[in-house]
């Protein structure tokens, strides 16, 4: 071996030691550098004393002490580091720093663009008046989701072909959202028609999957990539709720303080602060989720852990009470929607439990709880649907009822399949992988159903 070979081998060993150390919680880049300087000097002294570089490395590392203990010491010394790790730009010496700063600039530019995009129609005399309310209701997500997709396209630097498909999908959505001649029902000006409201509710679902294609950088056939997008969506939801709470406080203070000097800020808050903030928060929230995904524990699985037992207990008690008291479910106007929401909730609990579960872990009590939750939800919904089916002709098939029914079927099919696969896994006749695959494979179904409602329902029901 030549001298440079030996040196290279030593560099490699040091590099490895450094990367192990870097992964410890509580140890920062600067600390690693300081320790590395120490290690190198120690090695140099030992080599001077006659050891070979290999031996010197081993001795120096040994004298440095066990990495676990050092990391624990550092963590105890800097206990704050275990908490606030989401500092977006930390050390000037960090090579990743320039990149994260550039990303911050892009994100804030996109957030401002989203906030301003919402005011763009106003420039063309399309202000936020009551008559224009349906326009804004239909298009609200189109102001921000293309920008969010743009953020992922920028970040993941993806192929032109994917970019083109994503752009095409948004253009198509914008066209569909605005060409239908919706009927204007009676009532106060600006009341949207039923199918128009359905479009407004289903378009975001379809577009969210388009954003997903950008998020996974075109690897949308890949189950693992889809699951990542599911995780991202859950975290974003939680972040969004938190940001919205903060926004609410900001709005309350703005109104209160202007009221104190006798100025009514209500219209400025309603037309600028709330909509622009709500749209910009989507971008900022997404960026926060992206930045912290490997640093902070995901919240959605934690919440599902907390609430799955509670909801399972509630549903089982409910079914028990229903059976014992002999009361049927009272069919009233919003019953279908109520059960849709129940299914969405149970599905979310299931989905985020699955998303956080190690597919190779053995089954445990929590798995049984989940299955109990899903089955009791299925029974509750089956009872409700049976009651509704008997009276569907009498109730009449309005667009709302058909959309809610369709969603019910879509969700029921998912939960039914999940229950079957989960039971197979629990009874030891299959692995957990199919349970996860089923969820990710099912994602396009939501998009397809939402797109169906958006495109077919308005003409089908005469735009009423």
């Amino acid at each position: 071996m030549t001298t440079s070979d030996v040196e290279n081998a030593l560099e490699l060993q040091i590099e490895q030691w450094r990367s192990y150390l870097r992964r410890r919680r509580g140890i920062h880049q600067m600390d690693v550098e300081e320790l590395e300087d120490h290690l190198r000097e120690q090695i140099a002294r030992l080599v001077d004393a006659g050891l070979s570089p290999d031996e010197a490395f081993v001795v120096a590392v040994k004298r440095m002490g066990a990495q676990d203990e050092i990391a624990n010491e550092f963590a105890r010394e800097h206990s704050d580091r275990l908490w606030k790790q989401l500092i977006v730009a930390s050390h000037a010496a960090d090579p990743a720093d320039g990149e994260s700063r550039r990303e911050m600039v892009v994100v804030f530019a996109l957030a401002i663009a989203a906030a301003l995009a919402f005011k763009l129609p106003q420039l063309f005399g399309f202000g936020m008046t009551d008559e224009n309310a349906p326009f804004y209701v239909r298009n609200i997500t189109l102001f921000v989701l293309p920008l969010l997709a743009g953020y992922f396209i920028w970040k993941r630097a993806m192929d032109v072909s994917i970019r083109r498909w994503v752009a095409l999908a948004f253009v198509a959505a914008a066209v569909v959202a605005n060409i239908f001649p919706f009927a204007r029902p009676g009532g106060p000006a600006g009341t949207p028609s039923d199918t128009e409201l359905l479009l407004a509710m289903h378009l975001p679902i379809a577009l969210w999957l388009v954003v997903g294609v950008a998020y996974v950088a075109g690897r949308w056939r890949d189950s693992a990539a889809r699951m990542n997008y599911v995780r991202f969506s859950g975290e974003l939801f939680i972040y969004y709720v938190l940001i919205a709470l903060g926004g609410g406080v900001l709005v309350a203070f703005t109104l209160g303080m202007y009221a104190a000097i006798g100025v009514n800020a209500e219209s400025a808050v309603q037309e600028w602060l709330i909509p622009s903030g709500a749209l910009a928060a989507v971008i900022v929230g997404s960026w926060l989720v992206e930045a912290k995904q490997s640093v902070i524990e995901n919240m959605a699985p934690v919440l599902t852990r907390l609430f799955t037992p509670l909801f399972a207990a509630m549903l089982i008690l409910f079914l028990g009470t229903m059976a014992w008291s002999g009361r049927g479910i009272e069919i009233e106007r919003n019953i279908l929607i109520a059960f849709d929401l129940l299914l969405v909730l149970v599905l979310a609990l299931l989905l985020y439990s699955v998303s956080a579960r190690d597919p190779h872990a053995p089954r445990d009590t929590f798995d049984f709880l989940l299955v109990a939750l899903v089955i009791s939800a299925l029974i509750a919904v089956a009872v409700a649907l049976a009651a509704i089916a008997a009276r569907i002709s009498e109730l009449g098939s309005t667009p709302n009822r058909m959309a809610a029914l369709g969603m019910n079927v879509v969700l029921l099919a998912n939960l039914g399949g999940s229950a079957l696969l989960y039971i197979r896994f629990l009874s030891g006749r299959g692995s957990f992988v199919p349970v996860e695959r089923w969820q990710t494979a099912y994602l396009p179904v939501y998009g397809a159903w939402a797109a169906f409602v958006v495109i077919v329902f308005p003409p089908l029901f005469g735009y009423r």
Binding site: D31, E33, L35, H38, M64, E69, F74
Partner: protein, 124 residues
């Protein structure tokens, strides 16, 4: 000789402060100096020095700044602050008190034979 963990931990602060007070220095040199001062009897795990240095830095007793070593590597140097100086003299008083008390008890606990030997030695 094995020195107990607690004693090593307790003596680390005054030792490090005193060494830094001798002049600007850095981690490896501090450890080398500890070795010299104790004739190699006081052995720390090298990595454990740095959390202590960082604690002293956070408390404002020493100040760290990044510089370059003679070979051009980035290296963190430490110097003592005024607060560090007064902490050092406070620590010194405490240790002298402990040391004096220990000396007295060692002396009182000597058995007659040892005592005679020492006294004979002192008288010349």
């Amino acid at each position: 000789m094995d020195i107990g963990k607690d004693l090593v931990a307790a003596s680390a602060t005054p030792l490090i402060l005193a060494i830094v007070a001798e002049g600007d220095t850095y981690g490896y040199a501090i450890l080398k100096r500890v070795g010299e001062l104790s004739a190699g009897q006081l052995q720390w795990t090298d990595g454990m020095l740095y959390p202590v240095l960082h604690r002293l830095e956070k408390n404002g007793h020493i100040e760290g700044r990044w510089g370059l070593s003679e070979t051009g590597r980035r290296r963190k140097y430490y110097c003592i602050t005024e607060r560090g100086q007064s902490e050092l003299s406070a620590q010194r008083k405490q240790w002298q008190t402990v040391d004096a008390a220990l000396r007295n008890i060692w002396f009182a606990a000597l058995n007659p034979g040892e005592l005679t030997a020492i006294l004979t030695f002192a008288r010349g």
